[in-house]
């Protein structure tokens, strides 16, 4: 019903724009002329005092009307730069230095500001990763829609209400949301609103730039479903920019793979999946697997997967640990015991219920064990990590490490705890002070915890760098964090966690900020360290695939409660709880897309 009204609206509005042929989208003849024709486009970043960077390098491609195309690449591949260039949203220091972007036959680079503004309606629109934060917090959702109607005048005043309700319905939100303020909506809802706002312009081309990356796993899945069904029902042409090949292959018909500013592969999703031509595409694909499978294998994990599948042998790794440890490392001796722990935060506003972040959770992290703590954001997994490391105190229950009662530690005793319990942070870009060299960063825990002399500390820094695979060590020791890639930074973070020679490492989503191709390497490092140094590992994640690879046991948290626990392979292959199943379904897997297709 609503579809017909929209088409009519688009047609009448389209009369003012050069895209008068909008209503002909479903006519067979129109499909032949491309809606977007990019010819030899290059975009360069020219910052003052820095060498220019060619972010997009002679890229050419065409989009047919109504096509849903994915644009995949890792960070720095130029995919977002390309998206911004296509919608003329690029800002200095980015500059298009060659090529043409023909949208409906007109080069959009030649539009002046007013033409461009008018073009936003019935032309091209963009949904950003942070689009959900683009809403004005002091204005109701309704006002955001009305602003657009006023700016473009494409909806008569008496239709404002009806049109807003229709749009909000299209993104599967209740009409009551129109009267809410952005702050009252969750991240997923706000991202839906920003999609609805883009839709209200009746665009022929929509560019989605990582529309779900900032959202929680389960929400991510639902929002992608909405985008997919909208694209089918509305028939707009869409480009989905994402770093996640899994998501793209699940959603789109055709995929462009970008690498270092060039499009290295352009083919249908099917082709890319079954017969990838480019080395880079093959590499990306190799990093996906189904955590439910009998044997899970990723690059760097080939040998492990087999051992884990045929009943992992914890006894083996535990006994072999001291002998493998070449320098006579002490292995973990003390267990972390979490006993009936709850954490309740004061209500966010007066009159609301207190937030129960963690409810009556008990588990034991045995020496040398690796345990996954899995759940979506808000499930209480990070709160648990904070309590175990003594950053926060539990409201109820007890956490002990050996004979230390973690909750009662103060000042100096906390430092004692940190000697044995170390943390690997989620964001390697935030976890290293940008002004200190790697050497300084690693020296601090060595000096603080082991009382080593300068000379000893220097030796130890080099050993640590060698352990985490940052060689040549002399070079890396002198580097500043900004001179390192994300994966290298995360290795430094891991090296720092090892510096005090700890018994337990708590890794809070250590790979979620890294590019897919770098993840396996960091995970393999964590796994090696656990086996060779005999440290226990508490691995906090929402990513079940990585949990499957490096942990023996798993604990699934939902709303602060443990809903499922057991052997990782067992739980993931035969999940009992609905929530575990939902989490498993949310894992993007290109191969599953093929099964369903």
């Amino acid at each position: 019903m609503s579809d017909t009204t929209l088409t009519a609206g688009a047609a009448s509005a389209g009369a003012t724009s050069p895209a008068a042929s909008g209503s002909a989208a479903d006519a067979p003849g129109a499909a032949a002329t491309p809606i977007l024709d990019v010819r030899e486009l290059s975009v360069i970043y020219e910052s003052a005092g820095q060498t220019p960077v060619q972010a997009v390098d002679h890229v050419s491609f065409q989009l047919k009307r109504g096509e849903f195309v994915g644009l995949v690449g890792e960070s720095g591949s130029g995919k977002s730069t390309l998206g911004f260039a296509l919608t003329r949203l690029q800002k200095p220091p980015a500059r298009t230095n060659s090529g043409q972007i023909l949208f409906d036959g007109h080069d959009i680079r030649e539009l002046d500001d007013e033409e461009l503004r008018r073009q936003r309606q019935g032309g091209f629109a963009m949904v950003l990763q942070s689009g959900m934060n683009a809403l004005n917090p002091v204005r109701r959702i309704r006002d955001h829609f009305i602003d657009i109607y006023k700016a473009h005048g494409h909806v008569p005043r008496d239709r404002w209400q009806a049109r807003s309700e229709e749009l909000i319905g299209k993104v599967e939100l209740p009409v009551a949301m129109l009267d809410r303020y952005p702050g009252e909506l969750s991240g997923g809802m706000r991202q839906r609103v920003s999609i609805a706002l883009a839709l209200s312009l009746e665009p022929q081309l929509m560019v989605f730039d990582e529309p779900t990356t900032a959202l929680d796993v389960l929400v991510q899945h639902a929002v992608m479903d909405t985008i997919r069904s909208l694209q089918q029902s509305e028939g707009f042409t869409a480009i989905l920019i994402s770093h996640d090949l899994g998501i793209v292959l699940e959603s789109t018909e055709r995929v462009l793979v970008m690498h270092e500013g060039r499009i290295v592969e352009d083919g249908t999703s099917r082709q890319i999946l079954d017969d990838p031509q480019d080395e880079y595409t093959r590499m990306l694909l190799s990093h996906y697997a189904d955590p439910r499978a009998e044997v899970v294998s990723l690059p760097g994990f080939e040998d492990r997967s087999v051992r884990r599948a045929d009943g992992r042998s914890r006894a083996d790794s535990a006994t072999s640990a001291p002998s493998v440890a070449t320098r006579g490392k002490r292995s973990a001796q003390a267990a972390i015991v979490v006993d009936g722990v709850s954490k309740t935060y004061a209500p966010p506003r007066r009159g609301e219920d207190p937030v129960r972040a963690v409810r009556d959770v008990s588990f034991t992290l045995e020496p040398g064990q690796s345990l996954a703590l899995v759940g979506q954001s808000g499930s209480g997994k990070s709160t648990l990590a904070k309590m175990i490391t003594g950053v926060e105190a539990p409201s109820e229950g007890r956490i002990t490490f050996g004979d230390l009662d973690v909750a009662k530690l103060r000042g100096k005793r906390v430092r004692e705890l940190h000697r044995d319990v170390q943390m690997v942070f989620q964001d390697p870009y935030a976890a290293l002070n940008p002004l200190h060299t790697v050497e300084y960063i690693l020296t601090r825990p060595i000096v603080n915890f082991t009382g080593a002399t300068k000379q000893q500390a220097r030796m130890r820094v080099r050993e640590l760098l060698e352990t985490v695979g940052l060689t040549p060590v002399e070079q890396f020791a002198q580097k500043l964090p900004h001179q390192l890639s994300g994966g290298q930074r995360q290795r430094v973070v891991i090296a720092r966690a090892l510096a005090s020679d700890p018994q337990v490492i708590i890794a809070d989503e250590p790979v979620s900020m890294l590019d897919v191709s770098l993840r396996a390497g960091v995970l393999a490092l964590l796994e090696d360290l656990r086996e060779q140094w005999g440290v226990s590992l508490l691995y906090i994640t929402h990513d079940l695939l990585s949990a499957r690879l490096i942990t023996d046991d798993i604990l699934v948290l939902h709303d602060g409660q443990v809903v499922e626990r057991g052997d990782t392979a067992q739980v993931l292959q035969h999940p009992q709880d609905d929530y575990t199943v939902a989490l498993l379904d949310a894992v993007p897997d290109p191969r599953r897309a093929r099964v369903s297709a």
């Binding site: 003052a48 430092r415 964001d427 002070n433 601090r444 300068k454 030796m459 080099r462 973070v493």
Partner: protein, 305 residues
């Protein structure tokens, strides 16, 4: 890993030095690349040179009062003479010394207090933070000028030191407030938590991890404090609350006002020191535009466009 390899390395202290110098060097380059800041730096440099070389530049002594009184501008006295028979140009040149000196000394001291208070206030939590907050807010809500007047009147004729003390006491609170909020946001960063996990103590975390990340903010707050110090010094002197026997732009204004120069047609006596004060304060404000660009790269791109 052999010892010979280790010995080849530089001393860590030496390695750190280039790092800090590089940061400051990069900062100056960025500030210099901003046109407004460039203008400000040039004006400031001129004033500093004038202050340093005042004895060479000034045609007469600052307090030589043997000339004709209330003389108009002439080749001998470019800006005329005062009611007491002093050469105005010489007074103006010597007056730069006081303004620049007070501006920088009071600015540095106020910034030091602001850094010490702001950083510890931002880092600690609980009752201690509330106490500091109360004190800072007290200084923020008391109107600065009346407070200055009261303190200066109370410590009558203390000279230089008193003026600086008064300015510092009344001028640190705003900077502390700004630095505190930045400290609070930085203390939540992972690298600060990581330093805690590395076993670093609070003092070290504040001064080695947090402080270096706020350099541009601190420099900005210094220029802000120096500007208000220069203005406050001139204001206090003009009101006769300083030591009226020294020669500064404020005292020139004070004596000019006392001798009704405007009525006698000697507007230069009011205009010249006023302009100097305005120019000096403006130069610091202009430099602050460049400092903003250091902390916000987006502004930097804007200037290059």
């Amino acid at each position: 890993m052999t010892t010979t390899q280790i010995l080849k390395l530089d001393d860590p202290a030496q390695q750190k030095q280039p790092g800090a110098l590089r940061t400051i060097g990069r900062m100056i380059r960025v500030i210099w690349s901003n046109n407004k800041a460039k203008l400000g730096m040039i004006i400031l440099a001129l004033f500093i040179l004038v202050a340093i070389f005042a004895p060479l530049l000034a045609p007469y002594g600052a307090q030589t009062n043997t000339f004709e009184r209330n003389a108009d501008a002439s080749p001998a006295h470019w800006l005329g003479t005062t009611a007491a028979g002093e050469d105005v140009l010489s007074q103006l040149i010597y007056g730069a010394q006081v303004s620049v000196l007070v501006g920088f000394v009071a600015g540095i001291l106020a910034t030091l207090v602001a850094v010490a208070v702001g950083l510890s206030w931002g880092y600690i939590r609980g009752f201690g933070a509330d106490v500091i907050g109360f004190i800072v807010n007290l200084f923020l809500v008391i109107p600065a000028l009346p407070l200055m007047i009261v303190i200066a009147a109370y410590l009558q004729n203390g000279g230089f030191g008193v003026i600086i003390a008064v300015i510092v006491v009344t001028g640190w609170a705003w900077g502390a407030r700004v630095l505190r909020s930045q400290t609070q946001s930085l203390r939540g960063r992972d690298f600060v938590t990581a330093a805690r996990f590395s076993g670093d103590r609070a003092g070290r975390i504040v001064f080695r991890e947090i402080l270096p990340n706020m350099t541009s903010l601190i420099v900005g707050s210094f220029f802000g404090a120096a500007t208000s110090a220069i203005l406050a010094e001139a204001g206090l002197e003009f009101l006769g609350l300083g030591d009226s026997s020294i020669v500064s732009w404020g005292t020139i204004l004070y004596w000019a006002q006392n001798s009704n120069s405007l009525l006698t047609g000697q507007w230069v006596l009011l205009f010249a020191p006023g302009l100097c004060i305005a120019l000096l304060a403006m130069s610091l404000t202009l430099i602050n535009f460049g400092v903003d660009a250091v902390s916000n790269p987006r502004l930097r791109e804007g200037t290059k466009k």
